[in-house]
Symmetry: C4
Subunit: 275 residues, 4 copies
């Protein structure tokens, strides 16, 4: 019993941990295999490449599938609460990245689902711990988080504007000029408002072109709003950090001294020594 | 007389108020019906969908129209000054969202006007009180408001530039390359300046392509201006609010108290009274 | 002699001045005529409109031309140094907005040049004194001015990048895929880098599409640079203004007190009274 | 021996130095020849121009090639450690900008490689020392440098999102609507996300258009992130530099001196020594 547990723990350490050398090696190998599997899935979808190298691609897929299956099983075995892993986001992704290949033996067409394997790329963020790099004390994440309500309302506002202007364009241009329905006109309005501008549909009547112009200028100006919010929040985060005299606290009551130029503790009135 | 008034007041409370449970329930139901009616209007404009489900869509429209009519009448009855409501923005929108369906019995083609119903979506902002979410003490609204003159001048400047460059492009490219008239060239210039770029018209002469390049780089650089204004105004609003207790000074030495949570003056150590 | 001079002065006051009621009225009438003449020029270029209303448009043009001619002559007469006006920017524009119509009697095709009249729109800025509205103490103009060297270097950098990447795309894609020459490829690169994306040419080889992707992401990221510069300069301008205690000067030496929290004049050491 | 060395030194001074008048003249002439050679390479690629002026272009190329060859040899001769120059970035570029023309005598098609000459344009930055203009104490370079990790993670994040959404679009739209393979769909997703929007491929199914809409709005919102980072870093750099005399404190009371131009401490009135 003791031996078996230690065996499990060792696997857990290698698969889930990053402290041991074996754990780090496992992460790097996993990363390489994930990137390799994504390249295989992508190349398989290119008809000209798939024709020439179908055999090699199919072989590679099976190798990757079996490796992923082993990893999946080991992950379940070595964890204390397997259910929590199985029904977690990454648990479902790991399952969906192996099962389609086996199903392809039974059903034709299920190989499309191997594309789910691409979701495993998200594990890259976890392995590389990229989020940590993003900013000192995650200022970027914090500022996006702080402005999420505002950005949600902004997107909602954009949608309402798009539905209104899309309907106007449907009435003005009509199905004869490519605005075949209101949903299609709304799609066109968003294409224009976000300054993407495919040109698959474009207004042809003078009035339609005038309204299109108004939409473009709105879009061009409105782009300022989310940028302004995120910039300001981010800058505020930076300033706050800077204004704090690092590590300076009132010797009497322990309050953190926020203003560099303070002479007296703002909590207890204790005279601060100048340093 | 007293009973009738109380009956009116109850309706007023439910329709206009949000304090009672019935009022909140009414708002949610209204919201659902508005969204439902917008979806109906949108689907009706899709030919393939309308063909299959015309009967159901028409029936739904009538139900929604009748519900909106009842709501409209109740709103007029239960308000003290009906004229003010009838000629308000939402009063007109509410009227225009019911009348076209009745008119469609008399005139063919007036069903297009049911699209006005989409304007009722704007009521969503009122019901959800989304504006409140936008920012603490409406900093976003304030900063857009503060920079409105600058943005107006900016848009005006963009328009003049567009008319000038559009005319130049009309002379350079001419009707043979798709620049059929000056208004059309101005339309193209705005499409390019805002980086939308449909590609329905694109310059073909080397000189035209050179000028197009200049327009693009102007547009790419000029996008910085509204963003810079809104960012700076927004940031200024945040800084002001966070750091300064408005108008609070130390009663002993007159130092402006910067931190809202300060208990003692940071200059002379005088105890501040909490307010 | 004395009477003649006073007659000149009166015209000068009306045409160049804005202090008298007549001067302001003249400006408003001039503004209306300029906008009217621009609309005429634009409508004349629309073939379908010109066909129907050719006579009216031609008549309007002559009326505007004669009015502009009279204004031009009066401007020359009433100014002290006519040469300075004639060879100034607006002097040349005013001349070019009248002469083409007279030339059209002699040469066919010179009516195109009436489009120069559109440049008179720039006078709108002068008449409305819009620049004054742009910002308190022209902060916007100042911040654009302060960052002009940086923006020039930025544009220069964009151009070099575009020439390099355009050449690479010419070699990769070649004339068979629409990249007919290096200048044309450079044009395409700028279209892509500024996120305009007409789609008149688009890469077709996998390598070309990969490089295009890199160009797009550069363009998407690089847009941050001018915005960042202008935002920061603008914000700095706002902050500076705020830090200045408005109108507070040292009572002893007259130095402007910049820091609100200063206790002593930073120039002469005079103790400042708290207010 | 002494004479020869002084002869080498003189050449070194002219070619590498910018202090002497001859050195500055050499730089300007080199700049003109580089720009001229770039124009020649560009014009040569325009079929219609090359046909008419082929002889002149070929002659110009040979003149430029010989001048560049002489410069290359002189650079090697006059430097102390020739190997360091030859294998430096500019050494390789200088070599590649001369050799293709000589090779064109032996091999057909190698004239394409003369396009490498365009890389010499980068020398412009060195000659004009443009980097110096970018900002006082290179604040722009510093802020881009400071945010490089964040921008790298951001680009990486965009790529993962693009691969995921590109795969979804490949499954939804499929090869019949132009999404021929996953790499091609990923290319389309980046075209949409960066708001370039060529329109060479555009979604046709309602579900595809809905997902496209989501991608556009993500792209429109996400553009705020790099702008926010660069703006904030740049603003932080400006604030630091402008307000704080680095490390300067009042010798009497220890107050940090904020204004560089202060003569007296603003806290205690102590006279500051000028340094």
């Amino acid at each position: 019993m003791k031996i078996k547990k230690s065996w499990k723990q060792k696997i857990h350490e290698v698969i889930y941990g990053t402290h041991t050398q074996a754990g780090r090696l496992f992460d790097i190998i996993l990363l390489v295999i994930i990137v390799y599997s994504v390249i295989i899935v992508m190349l398989e979808s290119v008809p000209s490449f798939d024709e020439k190298h179908h055999k090699f691609l199919n072989y590679s897929e099976w190798v990757v599938t079996i490796l992923f299956s082993i990893e999946y099983i080991l992950r379940i075995i070595s964890i204390n609460r397997p259910k929590k892993y199985i029904f977690s986001f990454f648990g479902i992704v790991d399952f969906l990245s192996t099962i389609p290949k086996y199903l392809s033996l039974l059903f034709v067409g299920s190989q499309y689902l191997t594309a789910f394997r691409i979701l495993r790329l998200l594990r890259v963020f976890r392995i590389l711990k990229l989020v940590r790099f993003v900013g000192e004390s995650n200022n970027l994440v914090r500022s996006i988080h702080a402005s999420r309500t505002k950005i949600f309302v902004f997107v909602f506002f954009i949608l309402i504007i798009s539905i209104l202007l899309g309907t106007v364009m449907y009435i003005v241009e009509g199905p004869t000029h490519g605005f075949t329905s209101i949903p299609h006109s709304v799609y066109w309005t968003i294409v224009t408002l976000t300054t993407v501008g495919y040109g698959d549909i474009s207004p042809e009547t003078p009035l339609g072109q005038f309204i299109a112009t108004v939409i473009m200028i709105i879009g061009y100006g409105v782009i300022a709003v989310p940028t302004g919010i995120v910039s300001a929040e981010y800058a505020a985060g930076m300033t706050n950090k800077k204004n704090i005299a690092p590590g300076k606290t009132c010797p009497d009551c322990g309050t953190e001294i926020m203003r560099i130029d303070a002479h007296y503790c703002r909590e207890c009135g204790h005279k601060l020594s100048d340093d």
